[in-house]
């Protein structure tokens, strides 16, 4: 992390036994790892677990003290592979990533890890969400846990429970020689709460000690014939061991009355939402005193047949609340009940929606349906809902995410739009990263996005008979895997694709972490590896680096050249300008200090003259900058709003360059405001202002003379 400090958070990691930790869920998990005596931690940043990576990256001194190794892995595959350290040695290791994407990237390593099994506890912290907070496709890590035999924890949103499950997760992993995943939903990650801390524990064995005393076991290596043995071990030893541990440690929880003829089985992560739905139906209270029995699955895989049978026996019907599809838990519960010959009716996706987030409203509606069918005397009165008037619904606009104020990626897409005006529409293969916002208005550029760093690879099928395809990739995606699967693939297969690599100096979309090509100096990582050198090393002949993306005309000319150049082979444009969000984080305080100390400081911002602006907004359609907005037309005759730039403008220059490149209008101006100007500068300025002032006075008299 170059431009943000997490010192305050790191301090919380130092809390000792008896101290009360207050903070967000994901930081609680971070602290829990240290309390559990973890020996190494890794992962790849992404919402909602970026915070864990960022805090560890800033916690170097603490980690050194404890003898914990931390690594920002190149990608999730690297992070997953790192867990190999727990195969031969009793090392507790944890990695974190955004799932299901990260799990998919890591799947090769995870399959092998799960096959051979682990000696030391191995924990994968997956940030996963099925609802509003999710920015990826809706799939379930649950499927992965099932097919690879990894255990999946879904602790209920309560910091002591979450922290406890991290500790128990390691123990479960060790007791069953199986890697364990712990799922954190977005809201759980950002949920504030408190727990009583315990002391951090030095790992019993450090990674250094393990490396110094290598151990080897042939039967842990994933190759025949050991793999056949692994398959049997999974079923005959690890699975029963895990179920025994979960049962004995009572990792799942029961709430409410012991006897009842109905009940609810819920994924741990949904428990709070369920309790609210019950409360609103008059069946629970704020403190979770439910009047319907709840079996709360903090461990969603494996299920514990004895617990399931005991809970369901004697009940007429049980409601299963399982978010996402397919409904793996419901399927398995059915099997368990059939096998035990229990006649309890299982109600799940027949009353609950098959797809979509289980919000309070959704669970409330499903619960009401369940009760009406199976316990009508307890069903809540249907709540009268006053429909929102249609005119309100039609008036409230969508707010799609877009580029930040002054974002250096904006001019790249403005340039692309200008090239499209000349060459016609292009097939644009987009990638994961901030630049993916190009698919939305006002740019509306990009056809597909196939995964992080896969922009170039996703265009490789197009062998042009005329117009080339264009691929976009960020520097984050490039180092994540784009160098090999995108550039290497294109060179080897003699692709003609044009790849624009957005080199903004950070893995910006995930929070501004450093990557290999970052320009920042980083005390614990090596940076400053130019991307152009890397692509040339891969065999690209046509590579150009543009060091200021805001030069829209140059950007446009370069893209046009790449699209039409007679040269064979892939063309790579590296478009460099620093992520504005991070640049501002770094420069704003420095400039403020410099101004205070009496140094000459220049602030730039743009503006629009409302009397020359005619309200066509072509400039906005080529920009979409948050600071470039509209306001009522000051001219009483004109009826369309004028363009307006507010004071949040950071003076990146895009507006003016676009106005020039697209030959728009003369309304844009740039103001340079000089604090602490030099003496000569003041003298010159005063002189010209005096002359201009005099001319303006005369002009003013003419204007007054011909005025109304």
């Amino acid at each position: 992390m170059a431009e943000r400090s997490f010192k305050k958070e790191v301090e919380k990691l130092r809390l000792g036994a008896g101290d009360v930790f207050e903070g967000e869920g994901i930081l609680a998990v971070t602290k829990a790892l240290l309390q559990a005596g973890v020996a190494y931690v890794g992962g790849y940043q992404g919402s909602p677990i970026s915070h864990l990576m960022d805090v560890f990256a800033d916690a170097d001194p603490l980690l050194r003290e404890l003898g914990v190794h931390f690594e920002s892995n190149a990608n999730e595959a690297a992070a997953g592979a790192m867990l190999a350290a727990s195969v031969n040695y009793p090392l507790r290791g944890a990695v974190a990533w955004k799932s299901v994407v990260g799990t998919n990237v890591a799947s090769d390593a995870l399959s092998n890890l799960a096959s051979g099994g682990v000696t030391g506890g191995a924990l994968v912290i997956v940030g996963e969400d099925y609802g509003e907070g999710s920015s990826i496709m809706q799939e379930r890590t649950h499927a992965f846990a099932m097919k690879s035999q990894m255990w999946l924890l879904d602790p209920r949103p309560n910091l002591p429970t979450i922290v406890g499950m991290v500790e128990k997760g390691f123990e479960l992993s060790e007791a069953s020689n199986t890697p364990v995943m712990i799922e954190m939903r977005v809201r759980s990650c950002h949920m504030t709460g408190s727990f009583v801390a315990s002391d951090n524990r030095r790992p019993a064995m450090t990674v250094g000690q393990a490396a110094a005393n290598p151990r080897r076991a042939l039967d842990r290596i994933v190759l025949p014939p050991a793999i056949f043995q692994h398959e049997i071990e999974k079923i005959e030893q690890r699975w029963p061991a895990a179920q025994k541990f979960v049962r004995e440690q009572r990792l799942n929880e029961w709430f409410g009355p012991e006897r009842d003829d109905i009940g609810i089985i819920v994924q741990g992560g949904l428990y709070n939402t369920l309790n609210r739905a019950l409360e609103l139906a008059g069946l629970s209270d704020t403190f979770g005193a439910t009047r319907i029995p709840i079996y709360c699955l903090n461990v969603v895989y494996p299920l514990i047949p004895e617990e399931v049978v005991a809970f369901c026996a004697g009940k007429r019907a049980v409601l299963v609340l399982e978010e996402g599809q397919p409904e793996f838990i419901e399927h398995e519960l059915s099997t368990l009940l059939r096998r035990a010959d229990i006649q309890t009716k299982l109600v799940g996706k027949d009353v609950m929606p098959r797809a979509g987030e289980y919000s309070g409203q959704v669970i409330g509606d499903g619960l009401a349906k369940f009760l009406r069918d199976h316990a009508p005397e307890r069903a809540p009165e249907p709540r009268a809902i006053v429909p929102v008037p249609a005119d309100v619904a039609a008036t409230v606009p969508q707010r799609p995410a877009g580029f930040c104020t002054g974002c250096p990626e904006r001019p790249i897409f403005a340039a692309m739009k200008l090239v499209q005006r000349e060459l016609g529409e292009m097939h644009v293969s987009a990638d994961i990263g901030c630049h993916l916002f190009s698919i939305l208005p006002p740019f509306s550029i990009g056809n597909t996005t196939m995964g992080y760093g896969l922009g170039a690879a996703a265009a490789s099928a197009f062998k042009p008979e005329g117009k080339r395809a264009l691929a976009v990739m960020g520097d984050g995606g490039f180092w994540h895997n784009g160098l090999t699967s995108g550039i290497g693939n294109a060179v080897f297969n003699q692709d003609e694709t044009v790849t624009v690599i957005v080199d903004n100096g950070y893995s910006a979309a995930t929070g501004g972490q450093d990557v290999l090509s970052s320009r920042a100096k980083n005390d614990t990582r090596i940076t400053n590896h130019p991307i152009e050198k890397a692509v040339r090393g891969m065999g690209v002949k046509w590579a150009r680096t543009l060091t200021r993306t805001y030069d829209v005309a140059k950007m446009r000319d370069l893209i046009r050249e790449a699209m039409t150049s007679p040269e064979k082979g892939p063309k790579v444009i590296i478009a460099q300008s620093e992520c504005m969000l991070n640049k501002q984080r770094r420069e704003k305080p420095l400039l403020a200090r410099a101004a205070k100390e009496g140094q000459r400081v220049v602030r730039e911002r743009f503006g629009v003259d409302p009397d020359t602006c005619t309200g066509d907004h072509a400039c906005i359609r080529l920009s979409g900058c948050p600071s470039l907005s509209i306001r009522d037309n000051p001219d009483p005759l004109r009826q369309h709003p004028v363009t307006h730039i507010d004071n949040s403008c950071v003076g990146c220059g895009n507006c003016g360059e676009v106005a020039h490149a697209a030959v728009l209008c003369p309304s844009f101006w740039k103001a340079s405001i000089v604090t602490n100007p030099g003496r000569w500068e003041i003298w010159r300025h005063r002189l010209s202002q005096r002359v201009i002032g005099w001319l303006q006075q005369r002009h003013g008299r003419h204007l007054a003379a011909r005025a109304f």
């Binding site: 969400d129 907070g133 309560n158 809201r187 950002h190 949920m191 504030t192 709070n272 939402t273 309790n275 609210r276 609103l280 704020t286 403190f287 979770g288 309070g360 409203q361 006053v386 005119d391 309100v392 008036t395 409230v396 606009p397 707010r399 799609p400 877009g402 930040c404 208005p441 005309a553 005619t614 309200g615 066509d616 072509a618 906005i620 979409g624 948050p626 470039l628 509209i630 005759l637 369309h640 004071n647 106005a659 020039h660 697209a662 030959v663 209008c665 003369p666 844009f668 340079s672 405001i673 000089v674 100007p677 003041i682 300025h685 010209s688 201009i692 001319l695 011909r706 005025a707 109304f708």
Partner: protein, 499 residues
Amino acid sequence: MELVLPDCDRITIAILALGGEGGGVLAEWVQHIARANGYVAQGTSVPGVAQRTGSTVYYIELVRTRPSGGNRPDPVLAMMPVPGDVDIVIASELMEAGRAILRGFVTEDRTTLIGSTHRVYAISEKAALGDGTGASERILAAAERRSRRFIGFDMAAAASKSGSVISSIMLGALAGSEALPFPREAFEDAIHHGGKAVETNLKGFGLGFDSAQKGEAAKDAAPAGPPVPTTAAGRALAARIANTLPAPAQATATEGVRKLMDYQDADYAGDYLDRLAAFVPLDEPDGALTEVAARHLALWMAYEDTIRVADLKVRASRSERVTREVRAKDDQLLSVTEYMHPRLQEVCETLPAGLGRFILHRDGLRQRLEPFFTKGRHVRTTGLRWFLMLRLLAGMRGMRRRTLRYIEEQARIAAWLDLALQAARTDRAAAIEILRCQNLIKGYSDTFERGLAHFQMVMDAVPAALRGPNAAARIAALHDAALADEKGEALGCALAATG
């Protein structure tokens, strides 16, 4: 202090904010206040995309802490608002208040809605070719109607006035609403505790507090009356307006005269009234036709040429406006650079018609001259060189009536007025729609050419439309289609449909 609570002592608060507005800071303040005053507080959010222009919801639940030894477990608090179960909604912007209503968070039985009434326009509203903004009054009406109590005022203006940020105004309004059972000092303590920009935050807080206490309603400033003439020529023209035009059109015509006197001179404004007079006998007593003609004729006659742009750029009032807008202080130096891109076309249009046509019609000459006009110019108008250049250009106003552009524009205006007058004889509504089409012509260079082309396509379709039924509605549909997209796709479809 009255406390809005359901049948349990739980308070739920939803904050709807846009990225960068400090919704997270506000949520932290509220939780700090609650914890310091005997409540358990839990906050959650899905902040991922908020920083990049998106809207996001921060959700907080507060529960009174039990006396110790009560042997009660920790409260189980929800992580997202349930429709109908929200006590307080704070929205940082008007449409976000609308979104809260839309999502069912605001209910008449219990919700205190605290919302700013200013607008931060969404991209769909900003990118429209004309006016794409949503109707604010609908949201204001719904906010009043559907909440238990609505506290709405322009918090962005308050933030700007106090030199603070909108989150501190929102905190002040929350305290001032007395919807939470905590005294004012408790809120101020939270700002002190936060330790950042304490002074300005307290100032903003105070302003928000007072506005909420006053129950300040969203008020529009009273519209300014029509301008009063300041010169003899102005008075003469004002008298002409009063004597010749129907009363409902007079205010607009006065604005038109003022604009054209500023643009050119009193004679030109006189020409304007001459042209306008033709509409009066064809109009009804409501003056609607004349009013629309007055507006759009004035706008067209004040077309944007290089002389006009230069004239506006060199004015003292413009320098003052820029200085104010960028908040430049007295001890700072301000320099202003314009982004101008005059093409050979515009230069020739500013020349006397004969000369301008001569150059534009000779390909060889054109090709030789054009390279000098392909680059955009950075024009520093706070420097003497460029200021003098623009001042000279503005001074060419005297010869405007001889320029190529003037001749071309007057011919277009005449054709358009003829068409409108001809329509007005049989179909006043259609004539109004024809006149309104003037606002399809906007901007400069490519934008201007595109708008003019679309305008011409609509005008070409007018005679056929006039022969059929519902001519006004059909012309209006073409007008709207022309403003639907840049490429003219919607217009093409609409024209094909009209046949």
